[in-house]
C-alpha cells in the first residue's frame, strides 16, 4: 500500500511517498481502508519532533514513521476479539497514540473507534475526531462554560479552535477568538463576539480579563495567563511550547491560588462517545465543521506545511484514493 513515511524528524521535506506493507490487525484491532484523514497540529509536531513531548514515540528518531490520526474509512478486516465492528462498516476516530493514517490502510484498536454517522461524508467525518473532542473537553468539561461568561480562545481559527468557538457560543458565552488576521472574518461568521489579531494585540496585555481561557497554541508564561484571568477564572492549554508546559505543571495550580485562579493542562482523552456527541451537534445543525481545503495523499507534505505555517482556516483534509477505484 502507499503511505507517507518519515524516518527522521524534520521539515516536510523528510516525508516520502512509499510503498509499504499493509498492516495486519491484532486480536482487538480493526483494519481500516482510509477514505479521508485530517491533519492536526499533533502531526506537525510529530513531524518536527518539537516540542519535546512530540518525541514520545522515539527520542532520536520517530517510532511512528507514518503520521496521521484523524481517520475516516471503511472496515476491511477485524481481529478475532473485535465485537463492535464488522467488515464494510464505516468508522472514524482519533488515532493520535498510534498514527498511521497518512496511508491507504491503517490498524486501530476497536475501543477508540466509532461508527461514522451515515449522513456525514468521509471528509466531514475526518474533520471531527481530535479537534472536536479537544474543544468539547476544553469548553464543556474543563471550562464548564456558563451563559454570559467571558471566554477567550487562542488559536481559535484552527481545527480545534473553530469547534471551541461554536461550542462556547452554544453554551451562551461571550467569546473572544485570537488568531491571525486572515482568519478573523471566518471567526466572526462562526459567532465570535470579539476577535484579536495576535500580530497586533497581545491578549494578556490589553487590560481585558476572562473567566475562561482555552489556549490551543500556548507559549506564554504562566504569569501572563494569570494577568488575563478574572478572579476564579481558569485557563487550560492543549499543546504549545515545552517551557510553558513545564511552567504550568510546576506552578499552574499554585500561582493564582489566592484569587481562585487555576492554570492547567488539558490532557485529552480519546473518546468515541464525545466524538459522537459532537457529530450529533452537527446533525442537529448546532455546529459545523469548518473545512479549509483538501489535498491528496501524495500532497501530505504540502498539507502539513500549509498547516504548520498557520494558513489553515479550520481543518485540512487528505482525501485518500485507493488504486482499485481509480480510473484506467
Amino acid at each position: 500500500m502507499k503511505a507517507i513515511v518519515h524516518t527522521i524528524y524534520g521539515s516536510p521535506d523528510v516525508l516520502e511517498l512509499k510503498e509499504v506493507e499493509k498492516p495486519t490487525p491484532t486480536d482487538n484491532e480493526v483494519l481500516i481502508r482510509v477514505k479521508a484523514v485530517s491533519v492536526n497540529l499533533s502531526d506537525w509536531e510529530g513531524l518536527l519532533g518539537k516540542p519535546l513531548y512530540a518525541r514520545l514515540s522515539g527520542l532520536f528518531s520517530p517510532g511512528q514513521t507514518i503520521l496521521g490520526s484523524d481517520v475516516a474509512g471503511v472496515v476491511e478486516a477485524v481481529g478475532s476479539h473485535v465485537q463492535r465492528f464488522k467488515q464494510g462498516d464505516e468508522v472514524f476516530g482519533d488515532l493520535v497514540m498510534f498514527g498511521g493514517g497518512f496511508a491507504e490502510y491503517v490498524c486501530a484498536p476497536e475501543k477508540i473507534l466509532a461508527l461514522k454517522p451515515a449522513s456525514l461524508t468521509f471528509e466531514e467525518a475526518a474533520a471531527f475526531p481530535q479537534g472536536a473532542v479537544i474543544a468539547l473537553q476544553g469548553i464543556r468539561d474543563k471550562g464548564q462554560v456558563q451563559p454570559g461568561q467571558k471566554i477567550l480562545i487562542n488559536g481559535a481559527g484552527g481545527g480545534a479552535g473553530t469547534f471551541a468557538v461554536q461550542l462556547a457560543k452554544m453554551y451562551g458565552a461571550e467569546v473572544t477568538g485570537v488568531d491571525n488576521a486572515r482568519k478573523l472574518d471566518m471567526l466572526r461568521s462562526l459567532g465570535a463576539d470579539h476577535v484579536i489579531d495576535y500580530a497586533q494585540v497581545d491578549f494578556t496585555k490589553n487590560g481585558q480579563r476572562y473567566d475562561f481561557i482555552l489556549d490551543l497554541v500556548a507559549h506564554r508564561s504562566v504569569f501572563a495567563y494569570k494577568r488575563a484571568l478574572n478572579a476564579n477564572g481558569n485557563c487550560f492549554m492543549v499543546g504549545g511550547s515545552m517551557a510553558t508546559m513545564l511552567q504550568v505543571l510546576l506552578l499552574g495550580s499554585r500561582i493564582g491560588k489566592a484569587e481562585g485562579k487555576k492554570i492547567g493542562l488539558l490532557v485529552v482523552r480519546s473518546s468515541p462517545n464525545d466524538l459522537l456527541f459532537m457529530t450529533g451537534l452537527y446533525e442537529a445543525r448546532k455546529i459545523i465543521p469548518v473545512i479549509d481545503r483538501s489535498f491528496s495523499l501524495s500532497e501530505v507534505p504540502e498539507a502539513l506545511r500549509y498547516l504548520g505555517e498557520g494558513h489553515a482556516k479550520g481543518k485540512i483534509i487528505i482525501t485518500v484514493e485507493q488504486n482499485d477505484n481509480k480510473s484506467r
Binding site: S119, E123, V290, I291, R293, E302, I317, T319, N325, S327
Partner: protein, 334 residues
C-alpha cells in the same frame, strides 16, 4: 498558467494541456485561483457541439465558426481562492474562498480564471464556499444545485408530495433527490441499475431501474415529475402526473420545448421546459442549504487537470454517478 485548451469541436483528444497567459481581472472582476472544477455532461456536449439545432448557429458565432476561437477553455463549475480583485470589487478580497458557475464564459479547466463580482449577461455567478466542504465537493454543486433548487421552487414543491426524478443519478439528479427530500417530499428516483444503491444512500424513498421498468406504465402518479436529462417520454410523463401536477424538464431540446409549451396551454397540468436561476442570491441560498446539511456533493471520480481528456471520455460513457471532479494542483504554493 496551465490550462486545458479546447482546440476543436469533436472528440476528447482535442482537449490539450498548454501553457497560456494568466488572465487579468477588469475593474469589476476578481482573479480566482482554481483548486477544483468538474466535467459535466454539458461540457462534453459543448466539446462536440452536440447542442439543440436552434443553438448551433448562434453558438458557432459565439465560440468560433470552424473551431473554438473566442472561448478556448471549457468548464463551468469551480471552487477556489480569490487572488486579486479589480478596484470596483466590494464583496470579495484576496484570500476569500469561493465557488461558482461561469455559465457561457466557461474557462474553469485552468489554474486561474476571471469572473465579474456580480452575475453578468452570460450568467457567471460566485459566492463564498460552503464552510463544511472541500474545494472538490464545492465545485460539484453550483450548476446542479442551482438547477435543482430553482426548478423545485418553480414547481412549488411541498412537504408530503410525491416527486419523481428522471436521471436521478446524474449531477442535477443527485442534487434534486436530496433537495426534494429536504423539502419533505416522497422521492422516487429513476436511473439505471448501477446507480440505484447510491440513490438510496442519499435518501431516495423509492428507486426505479429504467432498464427493467417504465415508470409511465406502472399506474403510479406524481405531484412533480422532474426530468433532469430529457430522456423521459413526454406524453407518458403527463399520464403519470396527478391533476394539477407539474412537469419539469431541464433538457427538453428544441422540439420538446415547443411541444411542452403547446401542451401546457391545453392541459391543467403545469409544464416547465427549462429554468435558469443563476443569481448570487440563489447561490447563497444553496450555500446555506449545504451548511444546513440538505445537500451533499456526490463525487464519482476525481482526475487531475492533466487527465481531463480521460475524464471527458468517462463522462461520454454516460456511466457517471453524480459528479466527476477535476483537481488543480498549484506548484507555486506551499
Amino acid at each position: 498558467m496551465k490550462a486545458v485548451v479546447w482546440t476543436k469541436y469533436g472528440p476528447a483528444d482535442g482537449l490539450q494541456l498548454r501553457e497560456v497567459a494568466v488572465p487579468n481581472p477588469r475593474e469589476n472582476e476578481v482573479l480566482i485561483q482554481v483548486h477544483a472544477a468538474t466535467v459535466s455532461r454539458a461540457d462534453t456536449e459543448f466539446r462536440g457541439l452536440k447542442v439543440p439545432l436552434l443553438f448551433l448557429i448562434p453558438l458557432r458565432l459565439y465560440l468560433g465558426f470552424i473551431k473554438p476561437i473566442r472561448i478556448t477553455i471549457l468548464g463551468t463549475e469551480f471552487a477556489g481562492e480569490i487572488v486579486s480583485a479589480g478596484k470596483d470589487v466590494t464583496r470579495f478580497k484576496p484570500g476569500d474562498q469561493v465557488f461558482g458557475y461561469t455559465g457561457l464564459s466557461m474557462g474553469t479547466y485552468a489554474e486561474y480564471l476571471c469572473l465579474p463580482e456580480k452575475p453578468a449577461a452570460l450568467a457567471g455567478v460566485l459566492a463564498e464556499k460552503p464552510v463544511n466542504m472541500t474545494y472538490e465537493e464545492a465545485a460539484a454543486v453550483p450548476f446542479s444545485g442551482l438547477e435543482a433548487l430553482h426548478s423545485l421552487r418553480k414547481a412549488n414543491i411541498q412537504s408530503g408530495q410525491k416527486v419523481l426524478i428522471v436521471g436521478a443519478g446524474g449531477s442535477i439528479g443527485t442534487s434534486a433527490v436530496q433537495l426534494a427530500r429536504h423539502y419533505g417530499a416522497e422521492v422516487t428516483a429513476v436511473d439505471h441499475t448501477g446507480k440505484l444503491e447510491m440513490l438510496q444512500s442519499i435518501g431516495a424513498d423509492h428507486v426505479i431501474d429504467y432498464t427493467r421498468e417504465d415508470f409511465t406504465k406502472n399506474s403510479q402518479t406524481y405531484d412533480i415529475i422532474f426530468d433532469t436529462i430529457g430522456k423521459s417520454s413526454f406524453s407518458g410523463s403527463l399520464r403519470s402526473l396527478k391533476e394539477n401536477g407539474t412537469y419539469l424538464n431541464a433538457n427538453p431540446g428544441l422540439l420538446g420545448g415547443i411541444r411542452m409549451r403547446w401542451a401546457s396551454k391545453r392541459s391543467g397540468k403545469k409544464i416547465i421546459p427549462w429554468t435558469a436561476g443563476y443569481s448570487t442570491q440563489n447561490l447563497l441560498a444553496l450555500k446555506e442549504l449545504i451548511e444546513a446539511r440538505a445537500i451533499k456533493a456526490v463525487i464519482d471520480r476525481r482526475y487531475p487537470l492533466e487527465q481531463i481528456a480521460e475524464a471527458h471520455r468517462y463522462v461520454d460513457t454516460g456511466q457517471k454517478r453524480g459528479n466527476v471532479v477535476i483537481t488543480v494542483e498549484h506548484n507555486d504554493k506551499g
